[in-house]
């Protein structure tokens, strides 16, 4: 700790921080632009100037940039001294010389950091009377608008995009007061985290294009704390609605998960909520029916039928549990393919029973060595990929500290670091976006990835089984990976369901356990395919194939399908046959799918925006998302529909449930793995000084007129029986608990930067701690032994391709793929094959290959890749009408190969 004197008052503050952070933590409003808690200091904008004095007798002092000035003991500072105030005012005047002052028509207006800082410094008189410079804007693709005239050249965008996120196509061009931030030419911003520019930019240069499609001022939104539903990481988001449409997804700071950033799928995938193919009315056999009729018909069906229920990895715990309760444990089936389920169950088992802890993404960021097995993280769990990048960017050499350069001195550290990186080893089926920072990137089939993993584990601990007939060249590689991991203090092993191989996941577990046995604090992360894969596994349920059998055998005739398109989890023929055999197919879902097309009864479920629920992320963290708005009377949470059905059937349990809390409590008492689930957030009757937490900011406008075209008198707002939040602007102005922050705002801080006021210290955890409850902790007394069952090495088969799934951030996830902006980024379907195989079959890029998978012929345009193993092909999940869930599977190539070349390659294969 240090004693410092600011404006003649003494404060006790920690050492190791810069003066700006320290001042902000103490509550001083020091304006800033280029500094960002996630990015550190570069001292470029000169906005955060304060005065530092030599000692108590020094009356003159000198101006310093507070973001570049380390805190030292006995430091005399002035924040509110005439010279500094004058200088900070001048900086704003400089920045404003070319700023267009188009706040009234700017998307950022009213929630703009530049506006806030301008007001904060007190600059109001313009002395610059010349023409302003103007720029040409670029078309940056479907996610972001570009309005360079507003730019104040803080360099935050390139620092985030290039340094933090590893992007390559955004840069600073030209010089003087003509610096241009953009691409070399018009075109889509390629990086998967580009959307963060809308939040990183302190003014309106980069703004959310999807919001502009249906623009509303950000304070006119009804907002709720939400959880991203588009992958298993569970990033915290703020979702905002107006006029019955979801308008915007914003980052909600969570120190342990997503920090300040979201991926583009999470930010822009929300548009499916507003899509045309939403189910808005209940229907029976294709005819829209009234709610009462629906209930009568359902009652009739249910009473006379043998009902089974199929859950969903994208539905909340509450909905799955309600269905399980309605149909009974014996009749509840998880709604994923057996293979998918086995992978998720394996992950839960390893993390629950094993000795190795699964880390948060924040902890991954701090790892000093990472080994990724089989997972293309940028496409399956983007925020984990971003965390991996931060881990690799760390400089733990001690060199900066030796010359007194501190962690926040971003520019100096970057310069000192040069090419030095933390070790990242990866073994994937093809190139990934993390290859540019890999110490060693290995490309292999899932079997060979697993074998490499097992070999690494064996090198770390010889009690771990070793693969047989393992080539020496690979052994050398395995040894070097093992040595890298053994040299680390807190390495992380990352794997997941991505390459659909339990062997890969087991190999990852063995590596982690072996390191653990060496006394190393190792983390083990498994990424899953869907947002609630972990939660569904914890609830349990029978296998999907058993559901198929139950109907075939006549044990059941009626199916309730919960928020699930079964065709994504089983073969087209099998699922089609299954649905056809059911007498009644009752589907609860929010969006039309092949499954709803085959349903006799379709019930409109709410999306995450219209629902309350809890989902469990890949870290095993249960998190609550809150309903943002009630769209129509017919659209309800699935669990609420199920409660209603239960009531009409006078179900003993269901009829006692009234709200979200009742289900959660029942779940906590009945589900052994979800014992604390009712404590994920404060109780429904939680109030702050007797008041609810408003979903609408006090600046919300048009309340009395927004429904005037329907009814002149103001409608009564809906009441929320499921949470302590209100649907109005009335309520407490005190900061809510961290799990229930619907929006960030603080006096004078109208932009996203106001999150600092909700944190213990700027950039640190939220005042109330991190939200969510971790359900999976390492078992210290673990009896988990090393996994055996090492697969044989992959051997290519003539006329065959071993087809494995691959993923795309845009397109592979079901719901985000229905978002209009995301759709513009979805690649066309393809089959990825090696250059060698392309030669064998005499194919060029984009030529059509005919492959028969499970006796059905498919045609795909091919993409040729140098690094993908020979004899293997990768098929992108969700992009083509192919039985992805059946993969990996051999495909018989029906395109005739070129014999001569083939002979040549066969020889090399044998050698291999």
């Amino acid at each position: 700790m240090a004693t410092i004197i600011i404006d003649c008052k003494t404060y006790e503050v920690p050492l190791g921080k810069n003066v700006l952070e320290t001042c902000l933590n103490l509550g001083f409003d020091v304006p800033y632009f280029c500094w960002h808690p996630g990015l550190g200091s570069v001292g470029a904008c000169r906005q955060c100037a304060v005065k530092v004095f030599k000692d108590a007798d020094d009356k003159k002092g000198r101006l310093v940039m507070s973001c570049m000035e380390p805190v030292v003991h006995n430091q005399h500072l002035a924040v509110h001294d005439a010279d500094t105030i004058d200088f900070r005012k001048q900086v704003i005047e400089w920045l404003m010389t070319n700023h267009p002052h188009d706040c009234a028509v700017c998307d950022e207006g009213g929630s703009c950091h530049l506006q806030d800082m301008t007001v904060m410094t007190g600059h109001h008189e313009r002395r610059f009377t010349f023409n302003k410079r103007t720029y040409k804007n670029q078309d940056l693709g479907p996610f972001l608008n570009h309005e360079m005239n507003r730019c104040i050249q803080c360099y935050r965008c390139v620092r985030f995009y290039k340094d933090y996120a590893g992007g390559k196509d955004l840069d600073a061009y030209a010089s003087k007061n003509n610096v241009y931030f953009g691409r070399a030419e018009d075109g889509v911003l390629e990086n998967e985290f580009s959307g963060n520019l809308a939040e990183i930019c302190p003014t309106g240069v980069f703004t959310d294009k999807t919001l502009k499609e249906h623009y509303t001022r950000k304070w006119d939104l009804t907002m709720s704390p939400s959880i991203c539903q588009h992958c298993s990481v569970g990033c915290n988001t703020i979702a905002g609605e107006r006029y019955g449409a979801l308008r915007m997804i914003h980052n909600r700071f969570h120190e342990k998960i997503n920090g300040y950033f979201l991926c583009d799928r999470g930010r822009f995938g929300y548009e499916f909520v507003n899509a045309e193919n939403r189910i808005k009315q209940p229907s029976i056999n294709g005819d829209v029916v009234e709610r009462t009729e629906l209930e009568t018909r359902l009652e009739k069906i249910m009473k006379s039928a043998k009902v089974i229920g199929i859950g969903s990895p994208r539905a909340s715990l509450q909905s799955n549990f309600a269905l399980k309760t309605l149909v009974g444990e014996d009749n509840f089936y998880h709604g994923v393919s057996d293979h998918e389920h086995d992978l998720a169950e394996l992950a839960v088992r390893i993390l629950k029973d094993g000795p190795v802890r699964t880390p948060s993404t924040k902890e991954i960021e701090k790892s000093d060595a990472i080994f990724v097995l089989g997972e293309d993280l940028t496409n399956t769990a983007p925020i984990v990929a971003l965390a991996v990048r931060q881990a690799v960017r760390q400089d733990l050499s001690g060199e900066p500290e030796k010359i007194h350069i501190q962690g926040w001195q971003d520019a100096a550290r970057k310069n000192l670091q040069q090419q030095r990186k933390m070790p990242l080893y990866s073994a994937t089926i093809h190139e990934t976006k993390l290859d540019d920072i890999c110490t060693s990137a290995n490309y292999a089939t899932p079997e060979d990835i697993a074998r490499l993993g097992f070999a690494v584990a064996h090198c770390v601990d010889h009690n771990s089984p070793a693969p047989e007939h393992f080539p020496e060249a690979l052994q050398v590689r395995a040894r070097s990976i093992a040595n890298g991991l053994l040299a680390a203090k807190n390495p992380t092993i990352i794997s997941g369901a991505g390459c659909a191989s339990s062997a890969v996941m087991k190999a990852a577990a063995n590596v982690a356990i072996a390191l653990h046995k060496n006394g190393i604090v190792v983390g083990l992360t498994y990424t899953m395919l869907e947002c609630n894969s972990m939660g569904l596994t914890m609830i349990g349920g029978h296998r999907l194939s058993a559901a198929f059998n139950a109907v075939i055998n006549g044990h059941a005739d009626t199916l309730i399908l919960l928020e699930n398109d079964l065709f994504r989890h089983g073969s087209f023929a099998e699922v089609g046959d299954f649905l056809a055999r059911c007498k009644n197919v009752i589907v609860l879902d929010h969006t039309k799918s092949d499954s709803t097309d085959r349903a006799s009864v379709v019930i409109p479920a709410g999306t995450f925006a219209e629902s309350d629920g809890i989902i469990v992320n890949n870290e095993g963290r249960a998190q609550r998302f809150f309903q943002v708005y009630e769209s129509t009377e017919s659209i309800q949470e699935s669990w609420r529909w199920i409660i209603n059905i239960g009531k009409t059937l006078q179900h003993p349990k269901l009829q006692t449930w009234q709200n979200f809390e009742d289900i959660s409590k029942a779940m906590a008492s009945e589900e052994p793995m979800l014992q604390n689930i009712d404590e994920v957030n404060p109780a429904v009757d939680f109030r702050i000084v007797g008041q609810r937490i408003p979903r609408e900011p006090h600046r919300f406008s048009g309340r009395t007129s927004m429904h005037a075209h329907i009814q002149v008198s103001e409608q009564k707002p809906p009441t929320d029986d499921d949470s302590p939040l209100s649907y109005t602007m009335e309520g407490t102005r005190i900061q809510p608990p961290s799990a229930m922050i619907p929006f960030y705002w603080s006096p004078g801080w109208n932009s996203v930067q106001s999150v600092a006021k909700y944190q213990h210290e700027v950039g640190g955890s939220l005042k109330d701690g991190d939200s969510g409850i971790r359900l999976l902790e390492a078992n210290a007394a673990s009896s988990l032994v090393y996994f055996q069952g090492i697969p044989e090495a992959f051997v290519p088969l003539e006329h065959h391709l071993w087809i494995v799934p691959t993923y795309h951030i845009f397109g592979s996830e079901e719901m985000s793929a229905k978002s209009a902006s995301i759709q513009k980024r979805i690649p066309t379907p393809y089959l990825l094959i090696s250059a060698v195989d392309a030669n064998i079959y005499h194919l060029k890029e984009q030529d059509i290959i005919k492959v028969s998978i499970a006796n059905i012929s498919y045609s795909f345009p091919i993409k040729i890749n140098r690094n993908i193993p020979v004899g293997m092909a990768a098929l992108p999940y969700g992009l083509c009408d192919a039985p992805i869930n059946a993969l990996p599977e051999w495909g018989i190539v029906e395109t005739s190969p070129l014999t001569e070349l083939h002979d040549y390659v066969r020889k090399t294969k044998v050698q291999h």
């Binding site: 570069v42 001292g43 470029a44 904008c45 000169r46 906005q47 100037a49 000198r62 101006l63 570049m68 004058d86 200088f87 001048q90 900086v91 400089w94 920045l95 010389t97 070319n98 002395r127 610059f128 010349f130 104040i152 050249q153 360099y155 600073a172 030209a174 010089s175 003087k176 007061n177 003509n178 610096v179 060199e399 010359i403 007194h404 350069i405 001195q409 520019a411 100096a412 310069n415 000192l416 670091q417 040069q418």
Partner: protein, 452 residues
């Protein structure tokens, strides 16, 4: 006749070739240093010589060398700053163009002293023909065993490279130069860390001006003490002055520091007096970034002492009544010069060359240029003058690198000494319509008299 150390053999035919240069005693310092001295001894000689950085800041070169982190396990680098871009400064070009081998020799001796095994000469892109001259000289040095492995049979090896810049003034700032040399955008770095600790490729680095490195040659040859005898006080040795402007004999002159300014201007050995028999109005003595001085303050300090060509004497009186020796870009103005127009030209340059990294310089230089353009073209307002003073004051000292100061000082000093001229432009717009307005009718000031 002053002593010539750098330009002694400038007029020897063929001096740009190795053969002739060697015949004139060239590369003696390399032989002496490598064969008879330790690196520390060479550094010690440079310290004793009192040599001050010739690039503009005048920081003692020996001291700069001693800051180099010699404990680091990383390679050490010597980088020669040949990005000479300051308006009014052209001495380095002259030296490199005429006697390239003196720079190569200085690089070898200095690299030896610093323990650098790889050294670079970073040359501004506009000097492309000079780069060819240097490369030829380096090739000759390699061919004659003065560069490469085991120089002169010793265990010292050195590789020397020439790197062209892309033509940005900012890349003459040492850390921006290093960024550029590393292949990045030439934005100055924040200090600390200083280049002596973490410079090129995060390794200990010394960046020296061409003339500084060339001066190491005579220092080693004659000994630091002997060199220190030339000059006055802390301004030792000789200095190249790029004299330009309204004088009879513009050019590069090597002077012994301590020469009276008056003698430098009026002596036939140097500038040869003001041209066309006109009177001396003002002078920028150290390159465009240093404060301008009216004639009377140029020849005599505010205290009435004779002004000398030394770091101390020229800065006597601080910025109120003094200036700086800077890089030795000596620009002389006769009575017909328009201070406002001259300042606008400078401001235009600094605006154009701002890297755009930090706000005061990026926005302030452009603003000052616009205001000066307006005043010069007869559209100024009375408030513009104070506005300029205010903007310049806020830029000064508040930027990442010295370019902000370089842009602010000329503005502040011009208005300090020649405010009447600015007011004249504002009050009589019709009289400044012609760009050559003061050539037709020289401005007569009530406060500052012209000399002569």
């Amino acid at each position: 006749m002053g002593k010539k150390l750098l330009l002694e053999h400038i007029n020897v035919p063929g001096i740009e070739t190795f053969e002739v240069y060697r015949k004139q005693g060239g590369y003696a310092s390399v032989e002496k240093a490598l064969k008879t001295m330790t690196p520390d001894a060479v550094t010690e000689e440079v310290k004793k010589s009192g040599l001050r950085g010739r690039g503009g800041a005048g920081f003692p070169a020996g001291m700069k060398w001693s800051f180099l982190d010699r404990k680091s396990e990383k390679p050490r680098y010597l980088v020669c700053n040949a990005d000479e871009s300051e308006p009014g400064t052209f001495k380095d070009r002259y030296l490199m163009e005429k006697i390239p081998h003196i720079l190569v020799e200085g690089m070898i001796t200095s690299s030896f002293a610093l323990g650098a095994r790889t050294s670079y000469i970073y040359v501004r892109g506009e000097y492309m023909y000079v780069i060819r001259i240097l490369e030829k000289a380096i090739a000759e040095a390699y061919a004659n065993g003065f560069l490469g492995k085991n120089i002169l049979g010793t265990d010292y090896s050195l590789d020397l490279y020439v790197q062209p810049g892309a033509g940005a003034y900012i890349c003459g700032e040492e850390t921006a130069l290093l960024e550029s040399l590393e292949g990045k955008r030439g934005n100055p770095r924040l200090k600390p860390p200083f280049p002596a600790i973490a410079g090129l490729y995060a390794s200990p680095t010394v960046v020296n001006n061409v003339e500084t490195i060339a001066a190491v040659v005579p220092i080693v040859n004659m000994g630091g003490d002997e060199y220190a005898k030339i000059g006055i006080g802390k301004s030792t040795g000789t200095k190249l002055i790029s004299a330009s402007g309204h004088i009879n004999k513009p050019g590069v002159y090597e002077i012994e520091l301590g020469l009276p300014v008056e003698e430098f201007i009026y002596s036939d050995e140097y500038c040869g007096g003001i041209w066309k028999g006109r009177k001396l109005k003002a002078c920028v003595p150290g390159g465009s970034s240093v404060p301008i001085l009216p004639g009377e303050l140029l020849l005599k300090t505010a205290k009435g002492e004779q002004r000398l060509m030394t770091y101390e004497s020229l800065s006597d009186g601080g910025f109120v009544s003094g200036s700086m020796l800077g890089s030795g870009g000596f620009i002389v103005y006769d009575e017909t010069a328009c201070i406002v127009r001259n300042l606008w030209t400078f401001a235009r340059f600094y605006h154009h060359e701002s890297c755009g990294q930090c706000s005061p310089c990026r926005e302030g230089t452009g603003w000052m240029e616009k205001v000066l353009h307006r005043i010069e073209h007869g559209h100024g307002q009375a408030s513009d003058i104070d506005l300029l003073v205010d903007v310049a004051k806020k830029i000064e000292g508040n930027t990442i690198c010295p370019l902000g100061d370089a842009a602010a000082w000329p503005v502040a000093s011009a208005i300090r000494h020649f405010r009447e001229e600015f007011e004249f432009h504002v009050k009589h717009p019709e009289k400044v319509v012609n760009p050559k307005h003061f050539e037709i009718t020289p401005f007569v000031s009530e406060r500052v008299a012209v000399i002569g």
